[in-house]
Amino acid sequence: MTYILRNQKAKMNMLLFLTFLLITAAVFSLAVGQHFVSLTSVYRAIFSFDQQSTRHLIIRSTRLSRTVIALAAGGSLAVAGALMQALTGNPLAAPGIFGLNSGAVFLLVIAATFFGVTSMELSIWLAFFGSMLAGLLVYFIASLGRSGLSSLKMILAGAAVTALFHSFTQGLLVINQESLESVLFWLSGSTAGRDLEMIMPLLSFILGAIILALILAKDINILLIGEEMAAGLGQKTIIIKLLLGLSIVILAGSSVAAAGAISFIGLVVPHISRFFVGNNYHWLIIYSFIIGAVLLLIADIAARIIIMPQEVPIGVMTAFMGAPFFVYIVRRGFKVNA
């Protein structure tokens, strides 16, 4: 195995460092924006809140919610990606490539066009169920046939489902051109505009799904040895796979619901984590969450600054950051079990 942290102590130390990095990134996220706020102000805003101060208000409201969203979405996407990679045995598995994003947008557009639904709260739930729908569809299509879930089949099924939902969405938007404007920001991802209260339920889902994943970690490690082996060792692979699937969909769905369509985090982060701790899912899940959160926070900060006062949609930012890495993975021919 070609990972660098070989013993328990090294892994713990790195974890502490990463956690420190996360906190730093979060603090910067609170400090940076159209009004650059000093770090002392950030401290005071959190611990000795002053209602009259504009700066404190900004930090507490908009910045806090987007920091939390970026953190939660980045972390859950990364874990979802790690789990998908285990489930499919495919190093290229990721929520974005699997049509989950386009499923969410599709359901949103249907709701907007036929039922006139555009409220934010409802949109969050629609996005959630839309991505679940897409995920189930991809899973189903890709597992047809004798060879079950194979790499290429999953990717192609994902491309197929993405294309399916995308084309229906297109059709609807072309007939009803006004709704196009409101859906655009969903299509490209955004951490702004959603209050903390709205996404609270999602946060609890995410927490639950991560706990589930951690419980399953041991079984995932066994599964990675090979299915026949796992079955031989008494593992009920079907149930494990189902639970994994559930966890993935909840994580990815919550992320889309909170932050729109963001790609590549789920693909790239597990590989970075693997570089540090190898394929032991006990560690991999935690590392992935933290690294994913850090990366998305950084992307969000960059997205805010580059073209002020406008923002680069965060999904675009991660695509540009992630595509080169994706190409690199393909060229190197990474294997999940490497």
Binding site: Q34, S61, S119, E181
Partner: protein, 307 residues
């Protein structure tokens, strides 16, 4: 030898000559954004392919046989509905149906280079076509259509009327506001998931004509900016706001959210209590001379001026 037959022939030729000279005198060449077009006589079957043109046609009493769908209040804006509801719909402003237009047998088509540049050739084959550069230049549209439809006098009258009202407004508001004039205003728009500041464009031009000031940052030549984060609220700052939006629950919710934010409370216009909701059709969607009058009416009302 002038016998009877020759005499009649000469008379006929003379008549034809006189008639053709008078017809030629009625043919005019109109210069527009896509070149020059020859138009004969006074067109009686006109098709307009953008909102502002339909509006101007109504103002100039031009006989319309075809119009494009409105953006909201479909298929025709309420303020035009009484007179234009019978006119045939030819599709969307962005993609009018060529066959429908051709079926109407028009003798003049008014379109916009911004939208219809690529179908100029096809349109010209249906009927003489003139194109305005954009879709929101209400004065140029009136002038162009006046020239093209042989109603130049009426066009001059319409514009004169507008200019008079503008002058009156400027006089009255300066009298009322005194030293506070000119006021700095911002044009804002809220949508279901973001907000917009409109810089130049339809409302901006009219406000400039009327003498309003704009914040320095809003004086750019682009249409405006989309704001996704409430942190950008300070960008909106001005002494007074004119806000328009759709009649939609989600939009209302967003508007409430943004206006409840503390940064909003800090804005000058909010503190001066100079935040006005205005009609989106007149301020943004219609883009014509008559909607400009409606917009002006609203301004008179808001500032409690009498004409």
């Amino acid at each position: 030898m002038l016998n009877k037959k020759n005499y009649i022939a000469v008379l006929v030729m003379a008549l034809v000559l006189i008639l053709s000279i008078s017809v030629m005198a009625e043919t005019r060449v109109v210069e527009h954004a896509m070149g020059k077009t020859e138009i004969e006589g006074t067109p009686q079957r006109v098709v307009t392919l953008y909102q502002g043109a339909s509006d101007a046609a109504h103002a100039l009493d031009i006989p319309l046989v075809g119009i494009v769908e409105s953006w909201v209040e479909k298929p025709v804006y309420k303020y035009l509905r009484d007179d234009l509801s019978d006119v045939k719909q030819v599709g969307l402003e962005t993609q009018p149906n060529l066959e429908e237009i051709s079926k109407l047998n028009p003798d003049l088509i008014i379109a916009s280079k911004m939208r219809h540049e690529d179908i100029y050739n096809l349109l010209s084959q249906i009927a003489p076509t003139v194109m305005e550069e954009n879709v929101f230049r209400y004065r140029e549209t009136v002038k162009l259509m006046g020239k093209a439809a042989g109603r130049e006098e009426k066009a001059a009258e319409v514009l004169n009327n507008w200019d008079q009202r503008v002058a009156d407004f400027r006089e009255k508001i300066e009298a009322k506001m005194g030293e506070k004039w000119p006021i700095e205003v911002a044009v804002l728009n809220f949508r279901a998931d973001h907000a917009r500041i409109y810089y130049s464009g339809y409302a901006g031009r009219i406000l400039n004509e009327l003498g309003f000031e704009r914040p320095e940052d809003h004086k750019k030549d682009t249409w405006g900016v989309k704001l996704t984060s409430k942190e950008s609220i300070p960008e909106m700052n001005a002494e007074a706001f004119f806000i328009f939006m759709s009649d939609d629950q989600a939009v209302e919710n967003t508007y409430q959210e943004w206006t409840e934010h503390p940064l909003w409370q800090n804005l000058d216009a909010v503190q001066n209590e100079q935040v006005f909701r205005v009609d989106q059709v007149a301020w943004n969607m219609a883009g014509g001379i008559e909607s400009a009058h409606i917009m002006l009416d609203q301004l008179y009302e808001h500032f409690e001026l009498e004409e």
